[in-house]
């Protein structure tokens, strides 16, 4: 069954670098699915991940810039899952304001989880590309 799917995927005109949807999907949320012409799914994924990142920032969430302990390191790894959003945030100085709301910690978690969800979405795009996921 899986072999048939892989064969059908390779016969479906999906030529080129097999990891491209994975990398593009990581850098830009939803773009991996756009590459595979899954427009609706890509738009929903992009809206969810970018929305979560933006709301996290609006809630005074922090973007982790360094690791002082293991929890910081894990949080930074999650933040890095946001791809270019993380780079943009660092470049623009987002997520550096001192928290003044009780829900600011929620904001930091929103940013971390947005990154983790983006990794899941990028892997899904890769699975679609390789034929491991049917459709």
């Amino acid at each position: 069954m899986a072999t048939e799917q892989k064969i059908s995927a390779s016969q479906g005109g999906n030529q080129g670098f097999v990891f491209l949807p994975l990398i593009v999907g990581w850098l830009v949320p939803g773009a991996g699915h756009f590459l595979l012409k899954k427009w609706g799914r890509g738009a929903l994924l992009a809206a969810s991940i970018v929305g979560m990142f933006a709301i996290g920032l609006a809630m005074q969430g922090q973007i982790h810039t360094g690791a002082k302990d293991i929890l910081d390191l894990l949080s930074m790894a999650g933040d890095l899952g946001n791809g270019l959003l993380y780079v943009l945030g660092r470049a623009m100085g987002w997520g550096t304001t001192l928290p003044q709301e009780t829900t600011a910690d929620w904001g930091s978690r929103f940013i971390v989880v947005a990154g983790l969800l983006n990794v899941i979405a990028a892997v899904d795009a890769h699975n679609l590309r390789t034929g491991r996921k049917a459709s």
Binding site: M52, W106, L117
Partner: protein, 58 residues
């Protein structure tokens, strides 16, 4: 932006459920069903655990 804790939970559940639904199932109908299932579990678990902590703290 000031959100209540419950509004934050609902938004978190909405976004996470959307991604889970799309990535964990194959057909649109199954995606919607799984997304709704995850959303209900997220919000339901938050409400149940919140009441549990409320009674433990008393």
């Amino acid at each position: 932006m000031h959100l209540s804790h419950f509004a934050a939970v609902v938004l978190f559940a909405l976004f996470a459920s959307t991604v889970f639904g799309i990535t964990m199932r194959n057909t649109p109908q199954k995606m919607v069903r799984y997304g709704v299932y995850c959303f209900v579990l997220f919000v339901g678990a938050a409400i149940v655990l919140s009441w549990l902590m409320y009674f433990i703290a008393r």
